[in-house]
Amino acid sequence: MNKNKPSLKRSFGTALTVVVGIIVFAYGVKVTNVNFETTRSENRLTQLQRVIRALVRPDIIEYETVDTIIEIPFYLPCPEGQEIEVPAADTSQPYLTASEYCGSPGDLIVINGHNFTPHSRGPINFFTASGVKKQLGNFETDGDGNFELEIELPTRQPVEEAQHIQAIARLRVGSPKFTETAKVTWEKIIETVFMALLATAIGTAAAIPISFLAARNLMSENKSPLTTVAFSIVGWPVGIYLGLEIYGLVRDFLSPYTDNALYMVLGILAGTVIIYLLFKAIVKPEETQKMPHAIHTILRLILLFLAVITVIGLMIFLKSILRSAGLALMEHFEFLGFLGNFLFQVGESGYLVIPAVSALSIGGAIGSALGKIGQRISDKSPASVVKIVNLIAMPLATALLFVLVGGALDWFYQINNPVRTLYWPAGIGGAIGFILAVITGPKQPLPTGMAIYFIVRTILNGTRSVEALVMAIVFVIWVGIGPFAGSLALALHTVAALSKLYSEQVESILPGPVEAVQATGANHLQTIVYAIVPQIVSPYISFTMYRWDINVRMSTIIGFVGGGGIGFLLQQNINLLDYRAASVQMLAIAVVVALMDYISSVVRERMV
C-alpha cells in the first residue's frame, strides 16, 4: 500500500508538467501571432491560389508572338430572304464559328474558337462596316486552344453589308526562347556559386593555420618561461609596426619604377634572383659552416631581413605589373576582359594584402626571435638573473599591451584624453606585469600554448555566433552592395566554422605517429607536415566540400541584405509581386542546392 504514495506523487508531477507545458505553448501561440482564422479567409485563399498558380508556372520560356486577327462575317440585322454564306474555315489555322451568323441588336449568340494557343486570352470585337470597333468580351482558351463565349450583339444602325466579328489571338511563332528573367537568373546563379567558391577558398586558406592554434593536443605541449612570454609580447607589436613602416619605405622607394613595364620586369627578375640566392645562403645546412654559432645566427638574421625586404619589393612589383597587364588586357582585347579584370583585381588586392603580410611576417619574425632570446636567457642564466630580467621585461610587456588596448578604446570612443588612455593603462599594465614577474618562478614553464588556444577558441566562437547575414550588412557598408560584400561575409563565417571543425579533427589524430616523428629530432613544422597532415588531409577535404555546400545555400539568401547573388533578384521580384519571375529564382536555387548536395556527398564518400 505504501507504494501508492510515490506513484501519486509522480502523477501529480506529470499533471504539473502538462499544465506548465500548456501554459508555455499558449504563451508561444500568443507571441507568435498564431491565427488560424486568417488561413480560412476567402480573400486570402484566392490570393494564395493566385500566388501558387504563378509559382508553378515559372517564367522560363517564352515564344515570340504576333497578334493575329481571326474573323467571321456577320450580318446585323439578318438580310431578308437571302441565304447567308458561311465561309469554310481553314481548320489547320485558328478559326471561329458562331451559333448564328446574323442577328438583331441585343441578341445573345455563342462564339466558338478553335486551334488557338492554349491558355491564351484576347478580346472579341465587333468590327462595323464603317471601321468602328466595339469590344464585346474577352475570351480565354482552354488547354486545347478552344473557347466558347456568349456575347450580346451591339445596338447599331442597321447595315446591309456583312460586318465582322473578330478575335485577336496572340499566336506563338518560332521556337521557344528563354525569357529575360531566365537569363538574369542564370547570370545571378553563376554569380552565387562563384561567391560560395571564393568564400570557401579564402575561408579554407585561413582556417588551416588557425585550426592548428585551436587544437588542444598541439597547443597544450607548448610551454614557455615568463622571459620568453615577455620578450615575444614586446616583439609582436614592435614587429608589426616595423613591418608597416618597412612596407611604406619600400613602396615609396619603388614608386618611381612601378609604372614602367621595363622596370617592373627587371625588378621582378632581379628580386627573384636575389631571393633565390639569399634563400640558398640562409638554409645552408649548419654542418658546412665553419663560423662560430653566434656570428652564424646573426648573419642568418641579416640575410633573412634582406630577404624579407626583397620579398616585399617583389610583391609590390608583381602587384603593379598585374594591375597594368589587367588594364591593358581590358582595354585592347575585349573578349579577354574578364581575365584582365581578374589580373587587375589580384593586383589591386595587393594594396591590402602586402602591408598585412609584411606586418604579420615581420611581427612574427621579431616576436619569435625575441622569444628565442628570452628562452636562451631563461635556459642559460642563473635563476637570479632570470628573475631580474623578468622583473624588467614583464612590466614593459604588459604596459605595452595595455597601452595598445587603451589606444583601441580611444579610437572606438574618441576619448582623446592621454591621461586615461595612455598613462593609466601604462601604469596599471606595468604594475600587473611586475606582480606577475614577482609571483611566477623565474624558470617556471607557463602554459602559453593553452593561453593562445583559449584566446583563439573564444574569438572563433564569438565570430561563429554572428550569422553570415549580419556580417554581410557590415561588409555592405564597407565595400558597397554586391557580391564582393557577400563573399567577404561568407569567407569570414567560413573561417570561424571551418577552424573549429578542422581543429576538432586535429584533436582526434593518433598521438603515436606524432611522437614517433618527434623522436627522430624533427622540429615543429616537420612534425606537422610528416605526422599530422597525412592524418587530416581527407577529413579536411570532406569538411571543405561540406562547407562549400553550406556556402552555396547561404549565398542564395545573402542577397536579401545586399550581399549580391540571386537572393537580391528573388527579393526584388517578391516585392514587385512578380511571382512567376520569383518562381524561376526559387527553382534555380533548389536545383543548385540539390546539385551541390549531391556532388559534395559523392566527393566526401570518395575521400573518406
Binding site: V283, A516, V517, G521, A522, N523, L525, V537, S538
Partner: protein
Amino acid sequence: MLEIKNLTKVYEGGTQALTDVSFSVEPGEFLAIIGLSGSGKSTLLRCINRLVEPTSGQIIWNGQDITAASQDEMLRIRRKIGMIFQHFNLVSRSKVITNVLAGRLGYVNPAMSLLNRFPKSDHEMAIRQLERVSIADQAYKRADELSGGQQQRVGIARAMMQEPDIILADEPVASLDPVLAHSIMQYLETINREDGVMVLCSLHFLDLVHRYADRAIALNKGRLMFDGSPEEIDDEKFKEIYGKEAERIG
C-alpha cells in the same frame, strides 16, 4: 656511456611513475628493462629522449646533461636516439618510404623537407635500410597495407635512418606472435652487434630477456629493483620484481 642519475617522474595527475632511478649503460650494450605493467618502463624510456619531461634527476650522455638541454639542442640529441614502439607508430596513410625517410628529418635541410624533398643519398639509404629488414619490395605501399611484423620492420628502418647511437625499444614485440617476435628481436640484435648501437629494450617475456640481453634492469612501481645479468634472476628475485603471487611462465 649513458648515465641515469636519481631520475624521478611525477605525472601531472600526481602519479609517481619513477622514483629515484639510477643506472648506467655502456656503449654497445643490450639492456633489457622488465617490470609489471604500469611499473614505469615506458616512462623511463621516454624520459631519455624527453618525450616525457623528467621531474628531477639527470640523464648524462657522453658528458652532456640531456635534461638540461634547450629545445634546439634537444632536436640535435634526439636525432641520435632512435625509438621503436609497441604499436609501431607509423603514419598509416603515408607510404612506407616516406615513413622511413622521416628518420632523416633531424638531418636534412628543414625547408626542403617541408616540400618532401630528400637528398638522393637519403633515398638510397632508405632502400638499403628496408633491404636490411627484407621489405624493400614494400617501399611504395601505404604503411597500413602491411602486416604487423612488416610494420615493425619499417619502424626499425626508420630508427636506423637516424644513424643512431642509442635505440630505445618500448615493448617492440608485444603486439606480435612468438615467431615474429624472435625475428624482430634478431634484427635488433644484429643492429646491436654489427653497428655497435646501444639498445635499451623493455620486454615482457623473460625468455627473450635471457636470449637477447647482455644485462637487465627491473622496475617495480617506479623503483629500480634489480640491475644485473639476466641469469641472476632466480625465483626469489623474480618474486621481488613481479610480486609474491606471480608464477614464472617463460
